[in-house]
């Protein structure tokens, strides 16, 4: 537990600093009120709006741990949203819609995983194929329209509350905890890290590297399906052109802010999910702080750059050096005195 806390300490610190920064511009940032049995406030808004990226980041963490990357998750969100919406419009009910959407996400994962593990295509290229084709597939499903529905049961997943907490927030926490437990309470986590660090040596030790790689892309597809369901439920409609647009990049950024190496290996799901929350805090914070909207992207870029610079391994060794020099100078001064 202590080790896990130490692992996510930089991300927690970043969140605290960001919260202080936004509070300075917008004093009531941390204020949470109860209205109509729901919690409301900027922080609640962040944990709700950050849900899709947080869930995508869970799957992306596993893919990145094997040394891969999944660029298709944004469009898989659009596909699964379209599948769910058209199932609802056809009157097949919520359970069928959910099952079909998850099935579509898993299928996308099998496709990506097979391209990477069986055909040996580089992950960035392999998933680019579905990233490009995916919106077309989603448009075919919605027949080019924005499919709207009025099923309140399904909409609950995107805009409902349980015990005052928004359902999307509960869903990403649940996903994160379940996947982290699955990885760490079984041997999956170790095997995934092993494949990510040295696939050849792992295969030689009898690890089913190919199977594991397909499984992590399937996990990523399933996470994308869940994120797609939430996004679709939130707006009560499937928008093939805009659902999940560019979110794959935010998900990768969340994994990176979470301190996971894109080269694969050791991973932390908690850190990635916190990374997603950092991104959402920046997005929401810039709006709350009252900057003109044209500043948003530039400020976001500067903040992200600052966070990544603090984590940079090159700078870390520089800082260690500076700290050592200061300590030495102090020791020298102490001897003189």
């Amino acid at each position: 537990m202590k080790r896990a806390l130490r692992r996510v300490a930089p991300q927690l610190m970043t969140l605290i600093v960001l919260a202080a920064l936004v509070s300075w511009f917008f004093p009531s940032f941390l204020q949470i009120d109860l209205s109509d049995g729901r919690l409301v406030g900027p922080v609640i808004d962040i944990v709700k709006r950050g849900a899709p990226v947080a869930i995508l980041a869970v799957g992306m963490t596993l893919v990145v741990a094997t040394g891969g990357i999944d660029l298709s998750v944004g469009t898989v969100m659009a596909i699964t949203g379209a599948v769910a919406a058209s199932a609802l419009v056809s009157g097949w009910g919520v359970p069928v819609a959910l099952l079909l959407a998850c099935g579509a996400g898993l299928t996308a994962g099998v496709w990506n995983g097979a391209l990477v593990a069986v055909l040996g295509i580089q992950p960035i290229v392999a998933t680019l194929i579905l990233m490009t084709a995916g919106r077309g597939i989603a448009q075919l499903i919605t027949e080019g329209r924005i499919l709207t529905f009025s099923d309140t049961g399904f909409a609950f997943l995107g805009s409902g509350s349980l015990m005052g907490i928004p359902v999307p927030a509960l869903l990403w926490v649940l996903t994160g905890v379940l996947v982290a437990l699955l990885m760490r309470r079984t041997a999956l986590g170790l095997l995934v890290e092993s494949v990510g660090i040295n696939q050849r040596a792992s295969a030689l030790a009898g690890v089913n590297a190919r199977g594991l790689i397909i499984v992590v892309y399937m996990a990523s597809g399933l996470c994308a399906a869940l994120a797609g369901i939430i996004a679709t439920a939130d707006i009560r409609g499937a928008d093939a052109n805009n659902a999940g647009l560019w979110l794959e990049l935010d998900a990768i950024l969340a994994v990176v802010i979470g301190g996971n190496s894109l080269l694969g290996g050791r991973f932390s799901i908690a850190a990635s999910v916190l990374g997603a929350m950092i991104i959402q805090t920046i997005d929401t914070g810039i709006l709350l702080a009252g900057f003109p909207s044209e500043y948003n992207l530039v400020i976001k870029a500067v903040l992200v750059l600052a966070i990544l610079m603090i984590q940079s391994p090159h700078l870390a060794s520089e800082w260690a050096l500076i700290r050592m020099q200061i300590a030495r100078r102090r020791a020298a001064r102490g001897q003189e005195g």
Binding site: T186, S194, N198, G206
Partner: protein
């Protein structure tokens, strides 16, 4: 074949051997070159001379230090100590381009040119003839045409490089290296992917360059080619200079002695296994006709309980490939494995592991260790993979296994949670061994188990092999250190030219007999009946 033009262009004043016979006026001299990596000393005070107008072979097994020497020479590595002089001037290139400017050009086995540019673009790359700042395509072609004709090639330089055979690409790479550098040419395994006719064509070019006064370093593990082409040869072993001699003064057997081990006089007689001992042990596994086209010719192997089988042969002979076939790392096209209970599947590592096999590979870094994982995780990896992901080994059990093997194999690590990449080579090897011992295999394959580790760890690993077999485990050891094989193995199979050629047992197992078997030119292949 058209005589290369440079043979006639440049008067041959000294003759191919003339200059260096005088014993001075060396083009390149290297003295006490030393280079260490964590855990190993790759080069330990190596001397090397290269005269203008000679082809000098650089020989040695994997890990002997050939490629480290070349990398120091071409600026890819910085040396730790020693000096290098080119035409009497001290040099220390810090990059390959600096080495090129000094006059040292290199051509590798994998052609390091740009396959989708034309021959002319490749030949003039970086110094294209220009007119008004733009590349003058016509002049570029003319220059390139002239260059390739100098090498006896009559090809269209306007075509893409990739449309030509590897041999022609090699010659173009040589042409480019010579044009850029022009004093020293290093050929690193240039013939590995060429057929006999192509090799002859390449050698004509190399001889032409030699007669033009270039100093040529030729790295190859094809001994026939060394005898055919080179004037002198230098052998390295374990990072040390063994011998430099005129090629005509050495015979094949002597050369193999130099490469593989001690001198004839000091060979020990083995005193462990009596002839006939092997047959008394119960048979455990029988491989018959295992082979793969272009990898290893089909071979038979019978494995008995508690025996150590040695696999001897030169680098590239097929010794590692044989092990890879047995472990399913390469799928065998022919043959099958059986034990007392019937056929045994060995077409993937997973299947081989399920059948009770283990394999500690030659290249620890790329195939053995998982660098960022801890010592504990590396030890339990194979065991965990066999149990499957859903049945994690309890942490207490992992800690017990790790502590146990750290103690039994005397692995020097601060604790079990240290990343294995931080340990020395010998300790990494022990961890890989521990990974397999934790599986309790019945048949363990060790490919160069003592490569690159210090003398102390060396002896410990040999002792360990001995102990393992007492419990009935069969071990297959591949090693280029013949005295080590003689001490460790009950019988030895010799591999040559991708064939299992001889088997030596009992009193016949001496470094002497092994070397003769390796050096022999023509022995009928070993197949049914002998095993």
């Amino acid at each position: 074949m058209l005589a290369p033009r440079f043979l006639t262009d440049i008067p041959n004043e000294t003759g191919p051997l003339g200059r260096w016979q005088a014993g001075h006026d060396m083009l390149l001299t290297i003295r006490s070159l030393t280079k260490s990596f964590p855990g190993t000393k790759a080069l330990d005070g190596v001397d090397f001379d290269l005269a203008a107008g000679e082809v000098h072979a650089l020989l040695g097994e994997n890990g002997a230090g050939k490629s480290t020497l070349i990398k120091c020479l071409t600026g890819a590595y910085r040396r730790d100590a020693g000096e290098m002089r080119l035409e009497g001037r001290a040099i220390s290139p810090s990059s390959t381009s600096e080495a090129q400017e000094l006059g040292i050009g290199t051509v590798y086995q994998e052609v390091n040119l740009l396959p989708n540019l034309t021959v002319a673009q490749n030949l003039t790359f970086g110094r294209e003839p220009r007119r008004f700042g733009l590349v003058n395509g016509r002049l570029q072609k003319l220059q390139a045409q002239e260059m390739v004709q100098g090498y006896g090639l009559n090809i269209d330089v306007g075509r893409d490089l990739s449309t030509y055979s590897v041999a022609i690409q090699q010659i173009i790479a040589i042409a480019r290296a010579v044009a850029l550098s022009g004093k020293v040419l290093i050929l690193d395994e240039p013939t590995a992917s060429l057929d006999a006719a192509e090799v002859r064509m390449l050698f004509d070019v190399v001889r032409g360059l030699r007669d033009r006064g270039l100093g040529i370093v030729f790295v190859s593990h094809f001994l026939d080619q060394v005898f055919d082409l080179t004037d002198r040869l230098t052998v390295l072993r374990n990072g040390q200079h063994v011998v430099t001699e005129r090629t005509t003064d050495v015979d094949r057997l002597q050369l193999i002695h130099h490469m593989l081990g001690r001198d004839l006089e000091t060979v020990e007689t083995p005193g462990h296994t009596e002839a006939g001992d092997v047959v008394q042990r119960p048979e455990m596994l029988r491989f018959s006709g295992i082979g793969r086209a272009g990898v290893v010719d089909p071979f038979d192997l019978t494995v008995h309980k508690g025996e150590v089988i040695g696999l001897a042969g030169l680098l590239g002979s097929g010794r590692t490939e044989s092990a890879e076939l047995l472990f399913g790392l390469r799928r065998a096209q022919t043959g099958e494995a059986r034990d007392a209970n019937g056929p045994v599947a060995i077409d993937t590592p997973q299947a081989a592991i399920a059948a009770g096999f283990g394999f500690a590979p030659e290249d620890r870094k790329t195939d053995g260790i998982v660098a960022d994982l801890s010592v504990r995780e590396n030890i339990i990896l194979a065991l965990q993979a066999k149990r499957g992901w859903a049945r994690p080994l309890p942490r207490a059990e992992q800690d017990r296994l790790a502590a146990d093997y750290i103690k039994r194999l005397d692995i020097r690590t601060p604790d079990a949670e240290k990343a294995i990449g931080d340990l020395s080579g010998g300790n990494q090897q022990k961890v890989v061994l521990a990974r397999w011992l934790a599986m309790n295999p019945r048949f363990l394959i060790l490919d160069e188990p003592t490569r690159g580790i210090d003398v102390g760890a060396h002896a410990e690993i040999l002792k360990l092999i001995d102990r393992l077999t007492e419990d009935g485990m069969a071990v297959l050891v591949i090693s280029s250190e013949l005295d080590e094989l003689v001490v460790a193995a009950d019988r030895i199979i010799v591999v040559r030219d991708r064939r299992h050629v001889t088997e030596l047992t009992g009193a016949a197992v001496t470094t002497d007999t092994i070397m003769q078997a390796i050096a022999a030119e023509d022995t009928p292949p070993l197949r049914e009946g002998v095993l």
